[in-house]
């Protein structure tokens, strides 16, 4: 039923196709890239797009097409792993808050409200400025920022079914807290969670790019799309292709995850459709 509805939804299919392409690119980048993305070649500096360099070269003569392909792996890794981390902690905290209620709920909700009170990009900048550069730190920072988004959804779902008869019955028949939450409560939150995590990957990729653009993300010379944009900014007039192609890659990726998320929302939970 779900598969049938999903494959009838053009938006979902479009998003899924982009995501599949990106995943393939990130795995196969080193086999399909025409040049070494880190190889410096002074003789080919800032060359315009051509047959030998499809997206041109940067100020170090590095092939931008190869760097864009390599950048997919970094962006996808950061996006997916940070969302998985935030969702994992968010689900645990949201379940505990909703299931036990009382002061535990108050404290956890307060913590989540406080985290969500920060403008996300600003909090990411603050965390990266003290934690230092690196993919692991970006994942930790973005995972932390994502926690309340997933926690709130799970808490809401738990609250709505905590007092339902079948949950009472399971409780009376001796099911433990963990079993109750895993078997009866969480499946009810899956639809909105899948939608929010998919769109969450797009947001994480955008913030990672912003951090790397500002020099607070993936350290150079790693070919992160944000880093490439930062380089391009200094050669905006002489070599605009240094800016155009990495930006297109970010937009294409975010478009894929956003449309997949929108499509999944239409299929899984039409009530959430905006």
């Amino acid at each position: 039923m779900f598969a049938k509805r999903f494959f009838r939804n053009k938006l979902s299919l479009f998003g899924l196709a982009i995501v599949i392409i990106l995943v393939l690119v990130s795995f196969l980048a080193q086999h399909v890239q025409p040049h070494n993305p880190l190889k410096i070649s002074i003789s080919t500096r800032t060359q315009a797009p051509s047959k030998s360099h499809y997206f041109g070269t940067d100020h170090f003569g590095r092939d931008i097409f190869s760097r864009v392909l390599s950048g997919a792996k970094i962006s996808l890794t950061v996006g997916i792993v940070s969302v998985a981390l935030g969702a994992f902690i968010g689900i645990i905290l949201g379940s505990i808050a909703g299931y036990f209620g009382g002061w535990i709920d108050y404290v956890i909700t307060l913590i989540m409200d406080a985290i969500i009170s920060f403008p996300a990009t600003l909090l990411a900048i603050g965390l990266m400025s003290v934690m230092g550069l690196g993919v692991t730190n970006i994942i930790i920072a973005l995972g932390f920022i994502g926690i309340p988004h997933y926690g709130r959804i799970v808490r809401g779902a738990v609250l709505s079914i905590r007092e339902k008869e079948y949950v009472e019955a399971a409780r009376a028949s001796g099911s433990g807290h963990l079993k109750l939450i895993l078997i009866h409560v969480l499946p009810n939150a899956m639809a909105p969670l899948i939608v929010v995590t998919t769109i969450g990957v797009a947001n994480a990729i955008l913030i990672e790019a912003a951090l790397s653009f500002l020099g607070l993300g993936v350290p150079p010379p790693a070919p992160s799309w944000g880093n490439m944009l930062a380089d391009g900014r200094n050669f905006l007039i002489q070599a605009p292709w240094m800016t155009i192609f990495p930006g297109l890659a970010i937009s294409f990726t975010v478009l894929g995850f956003n449309t997949l998320g929108d499509g999944l929302r239409d299929v899984l939970d039409p009530k959430l459709k905006q």
């Binding site: 600003l122 500002l214 449309t259």
Partner: protein
């Protein structure tokens, strides 16, 4: 309503307290000794001790926090390590610039999004609707800092219409200030406009299907009158929520955009402070922008109650 206003404002207090704890804790996330990170490993022992004392890092954490919060309540966020200026003064001097950029972007986005959303809803399932919604999906996917670079390329380098970077206050020279504001505001407004247009469209569609609208139409009330007089006000409450959420994006985005356009706001201050490892300034900027965001959100909630009187703490 008065009770609702008071309770909404009081609900902000515990959140702000926890925000202050998180911001205070930032300096303790610095790997290793923050003083050595600031001064470098070659610093003399007495320099290290002096800096440790200056930052109050030689006291127990709870005492440090207590002193920091006490200062905060007096409007004292400490002093910059580099210039020794009071952090609060540095921020207050730059905050109007950041707020002007954010407000310009918000106004521009509303100017684009509300008519677009209404038109899409009124012409539901027509080519106008498809084109607008297609543009919305594209706009949401484009990073604002990339758009900023493309706008510089197009409007400043190619067409030579607008300045590439810099800032003139609109309060000093309105028209010149406006010229400097256009590109930063446009860079930020696109995503926001897309999100608001999408929400306006879906909210209007919902309201336009309500019985009272159908009745008014069947009575022969002009469609234009119904859309603007009846539907828009009722459709506006959910739109406000999305605007409230996006203020955070706007403030965070402004920080990045300020760096690109060399705008002397809080964002530029943060970057200079990060480069100089001036942690009191970094903490102060993040705290103040977040406080603005928390209060703007509270104001949006109160406005929501105005547009939808069913919303109230008292009617649970």
């Amino acid at each position: 309503m008065k009770k609702y206003v008071i309770r909404r404002l009081v609900s902000v207090i515990p959140v702000l307290w926890l925000v202050s704890v998180l911001v205070f804790g930032l300096i303790h996330l610095v790997p290793g000794d923050p003083v050595l990170v600031i001064l470098g490993t070659t610093a003399e022992k007495d320099q290290i001790e002096a800096m440790r004392h200056k930052l109050s890092l030689d006291r127990p954490v709870l005492v440090q926090y207590g002193n920091w919060v006490a200062g905060l309540l007096r409007g004292d966020l400490g002093h910059s390590i580099i210039s020794d200026e009071p952090v609060m003064e540095m921020i207050l001097r730059r905050m109007p610039v950041t707020l002007t950029v954010a407000a310009a972007a918000l106004l521009l986005s509303l100017f684009i999004s509300i008519p677009t959303g209404i038109l899409s809803a009124v012409r539901h399932n027509t080519y106008t609707d498809y084109v607008f919604m297609g543009l919305v999906i594209l706009a949401v996917s484009m990073p604002s800092f990339w758009l900023a670079l493309l706008f510089i390329l197009l409007f400043s380098v190619e067409l030579k219409l607008l300045p590439m970077m810099g800032y003139v206050s609109i309060f000093t020279d309105f028209w010149e200030g406006l010229r400097y504001l256009v590109l930063p505001a446009m860079s930020l407004a696109f995503i926001l406009a897309a999100l608001v247009a999408r929400m306006t469209r879906s909210s209007m569609l919902e309201v336009l299907r309500e019985d009272y609208i159908v009745t008014a139409l069947s009575k022969g009330t002009p469609r234009r009158f119904i859309v603007f007089k009846h539907a828009l006000k009722n459709a506006f409450a959910p739109v406000l929520t999305i605007i409230g959420f996006q203020i955070g994006f706007l403030l965070g985005g402004t920080v990045v955009i300020e760096d690109i356009y060399s705008i002397p706001g809080v964002g530029r201050l943060i970057f200079t402070a990060i480069t100089n490892r001036d942690y009191p300034v970094v903490q102060g900027c993040i705290l103040m922008v977040t406080i603005v965001y928390v209060f703007v959100n509270a104001a949006v909630d109160l406005a929501y109650a105005y547009f939808d009187p069913r919303v109230s703490f008292d009617k649970k």
